[in-house]
Symmetry: C2
Subunit: 396 residues, 2 copies
C-alpha cells in the first residue's frame, strides 16, 4: 500500500452559495451574496463583459473600480470562442483573468432579438449566428450546459423575453413558456450538480416575466417561488416601456418574491433607474450603459451627464469630474477627451468607459452606505437632483 | 518699495539643448540628448502619438515602457484639434499628459502622401484636409510656427519626401527644394527663438534627402551640415526601397554627418531595421509599427513575430511572451488574445499595442546595454537569430 494514498487530507468543506440580508431601510436592502469566489456586496452593479471582456477596460480596472461580479453573455460566448473551448481552457474566469464571481445570462434575451434568423418552439430556439450564419440551437438544457462549461457562478434560466408593447395574449404565452423552461432549466442544473458539472457554490436564478401586466407578473413570480430557486430576476423590463411603467411594474412584482433571496433586475439601467429600483428592494443590476455610452462619448458624472462630443468642451481645460474616484476623470481635460472622441481614438473610449464604470460602482457604494446609515431617501433625493440633471440643462 | 519684489531669487539657468556622446562600439553609439524636459537615452525609439495619443495606450503605459520621448504629427494636429487651440490649452505636453520630450515632424511627409489633393510649389504645399476637405497651406514658416505652438522640444525642418523608386532627376529636385526649405525652416526657427516663440532648450533638426542615390545623399548632408543644425535626420527611407537598399544608403550617408550631433532615422522600422541602423550609428527612430501592427493582431516577442489571428493560437493556454517585461505578455493566454483580436475587441488592440511598445523599448534598452558593454555585434547576432525568425517559420 502506497503511503501517499493513505495520508489524511483535510479537505476544506466546499462553500455553498448563500445570501445574507444585513439591513433594510424602507424597502431598500443591504445584503451579501456569498459564493466560493467571493462575496458580492449588494446593491451591486455588474459590468457587462459580453464576449469575455468589459469593453475597452483591463480586468484590473474593473476590479479596482469595486465590481464584485461581472456578467458574461451565453449567446456571444457560445458562438465565439465557444463554450467547450472555454471549458478546455479552464473556464471563463481563467480565460478572461477575472477571479471574482461571474453571472451569465441564458442567451434567451439575445437570441430573441435576432428577429428573422431565429425560430421559437417548445423545445427551444433555433437560430443563425450573427457572425457567420451557422445554425445553432438553444434550449433550457443546452443553455445550462453552456453556463456550466463556462463555469458561471450565477446562472440564469432560459426564458423568452419579448419586446414591449405587446398584446396581453402574447405576453402571457411567453411568460408561461418561460415557466416551463424554468422547470427544465432547474432539472438540467440539478443534473449538472449531480454529475459534477456544477458545484454547490454555483446557483441558478429564475426570471419573472409578464411584461407590464401586474397579474401576469404575480402569476409568474408565484409559480417560480413555488419551484424554490436560490435567487430571482425580474426580466423583460427596460425593453421599451419607459421608466415610470418599469418602476410601477417592479413595485408590484417584488412583493411576490421572498425577502431572503437575492433580487436581480436585468439589463437596467440609468442612474435614476438604479436608485429607484434599489428603493423598491432590488439587489443586483447589469447594463451595457456605462461602457456603451462611454464609447459614444457620453460621460456620467456627479454633476450630471455630459456629452463629450459637444463643441463647448473643445477648449475647456477643466477635468471631466473633479469629484470622481477615477483618476482619468480628474486628470484629463475635457478639451482632450473631446478631441479623442471626435477623432475616434481608442483612448477616448478607454477613458470614458473607465470613468463610467467607476461612476456606476461608486453610485452603488454610495447607496450601500446610505442604506447602512438608514438615510437612503434623503441621500436619493439629494443625489438625484445632482446626477440626473437633464442633458439639455447640462448641455446648452 | 515692496519687500516681495526686492528679495533675491536664484533663477536656475534655462537649460539648453545638448548632446553627449557617452561611448561607441564600432559605429554603434550610446549617447544622451539633454533637454529641459528630460534626458533622452539613445539609441532611442520614439512611440508615435499621431493625434496626441499613442493609439490604444494610456500615457502612463508609454512612460512606464521606458520611452524618453514620443513623436507627434504636425499634419494631424494642425487639422484637429488645431495648433492654436493646443497652444491656448498650454501646449501639447499638457494637453496629452506627457511631461517628457516630444519631437514633432514637419508635416511634409504626410501632406506629400495626400496625392491628388495637394499641390507643391516653391512656397510650400497647398492641400485639402482628409477630415473635412478644408483648404490649408504648409510652408517652412508655417510648419515651424505650428511646431512652436505645440511646444515641441525637437522640431523638424519642412521637407519634400518622395516615394521610391523615382527618377534621379525627380529625387534631385526634391532634395534641392528640401535644402532651400531647410534654410527657410532655420530662419523661421531663429525668429521664433528671438521672439520667445521657442526657448533655448528646443531644437530644430535638418533632414537629409536624396533617395538611394549616394551622391545626392552626400550633397544633401554636406549642405545641411554647412548650415549647422543641432541634429540631423535621414528622411526618405523605408518608402519602398527595401531593407538592403535602406541599410546601404544609410551606410553611405551617416559618415557625412558630424559625430557630435544626434542622428535620427525617420519612420523606421522593424526590429531588424533598428539593429542594423544602430550598428551604423543611428541614435533615434520612430515608427507606427508597434502600435499599428498590434491593432492588426501582430505581436513582437523575444522568440520572433507572432500573428495572433492564426487559428493555431485558439486553444493555446501559454502566454504570448514569458520573457517580456510587459505584464500583459506574461499574464494573458494566447487563446484569449486570439479571441479578442478575432472579435475586434478594444482589449485585443490595447494588449498588443502595449506588448509591442514595451518590446520596442526593451529592444532599445538591450542595445544600449550591449553598446555600454562593448559587445554590440555579439548581442546583435544572437538577438537577430531569435527575434527576426521569419513569420513563416514561426507560423506554420
Amino acid at each position: 500500500m502506497n503511503v501517499a494514498t493513505t495520508e489524511h487530507v483535510t479537505e476544506k468543506p466546499s462553500p455553498a452559495f448563500g445570501f445574507r440580508l444585513l439591513t433594510q431601510d424602507g424597502n431598500a436592502r443591504r445584503s451579501e451574496i456569498v459564493t466560493p469566489r467571493g462575496v458580492i456586496r449588494t446593491p451591486a452593479f455588474m459590468p457587462v463583459g459580453t464576449v469575455a471582456t468589459v469593453k475597452a477596460l483591463y480586468p484590473e480596472q474593473v476590479r479596482d473600480a469595486g465590481a464584485d461580479i461581472l456578467l458574461g453573455n451565453t449567446y456571444h460566448l457560445m458562438l465565439r470562442p465557444g463554450a467547450e473551448r472555454v471549458a478546455k481552457l479552464g473556464g471563463l474566469h481563467k480565460f478572461m483573468r477575472w477571479e471574482k464571481p461571474i453571472l451569465t445570462d441564458s442567451g434567451g434575451f439575445q437570441v430573441m432579438s435576432l428577429g428573422k434568423i431565429r425560430k421559437i418552439t417548445e423545445e427551444g430556439v433555433a437560430f443563425q449566428s450573427h457572425i457567420d450564419g451557422s445554425r445553432h440551437m438553444l434550449s433550457p438544457e443546452r443553455s445550462i450546459e453552456i453556463q456550466c462549461l463556462l463555469g458561471s457562478d450565477i446562472q440564469m434560466q432560459f426564458d423568452e423575453c419579448i419586446e414591449l408593447p405587446a398584446e396581453r395574449k402574447e405576453v402571457e404565452r411567453a411568460m408561461e413558456l418561460s415557466l416551463r423552461w424554468a422547470e427544465r432549466s432547474k432539472r438540467a442544473f440539478e443534473m449538472q450538480l449531480a454529475s459534477g458539472g456544477a458545484g454547490p457554490g454555483q446557483a441558478l436564478f429564475a426570471i419573472v416575466q409578464g411584461g407590464t401586466d401586474v397579474e401576469l407578473r404575480r402569476r409568474s413570480a408565484e409559480a417560480l417561488v413555488g419551484m424554490d430557486f436560490p435567487g430571482y430576476a425580474v426580466g423583460g423590463l427596460a425593453v421599451g416601456e419607459g421608466h415610470e411603467a418599469m418602476i410601477a411594474t417592479l413595485g408590484e412584482t417584488l412583493p411576490h418574491l421572498p425577502a431572503g433571496k437575492p433580487r436581480y433586475l436585468m439589463g437596467v439601467g440609468t442612474p435614476l433607474d438604479l436608485i429607484e429600483s434599489v428603493r423598491l428592494g432590488v439587489d443586483m443590476f447589469d447594463c451595457v450603459m456605462p461602457t456603451r455610452n462611454g464609447r459614444h462619448g457620453y460621460a456620467f458624472t456627479w454633476n450630471g451627464p455630459v456629452n463629450m462630443r459637444n463643441a463647448k468642451h473643445a477648449e475647456d481645460p477643466s477635468p471631466l469630474d473633479a469629484l470622481s474616484s477615477c483618476p482619468a476623470a480628474r486628470e484629463y481635460s475635457r478639451a482632450y477627451i473631446h478631441h479623442l472622441i471626435k477623432s475616434g481614438e481608442y483612448l477616448g473610449a478607454m477613458i470614458l468607459s473607465w470613468v463610467n464604470t467607476v461612476f456606476y460602482q461608486d453610485l452603488m457604494a454610495a447607496m450601500r452606505s446610505a442604506i447602512d446609515d438608514g438615510r437612503f431617501d434623503a441621500w436619493a433625493a439629494e443625489t438625484k437632483a445632482r446626477i440626473t440633471a437633464a442633458p439639455t440643462a447640462q448641455e446648452p
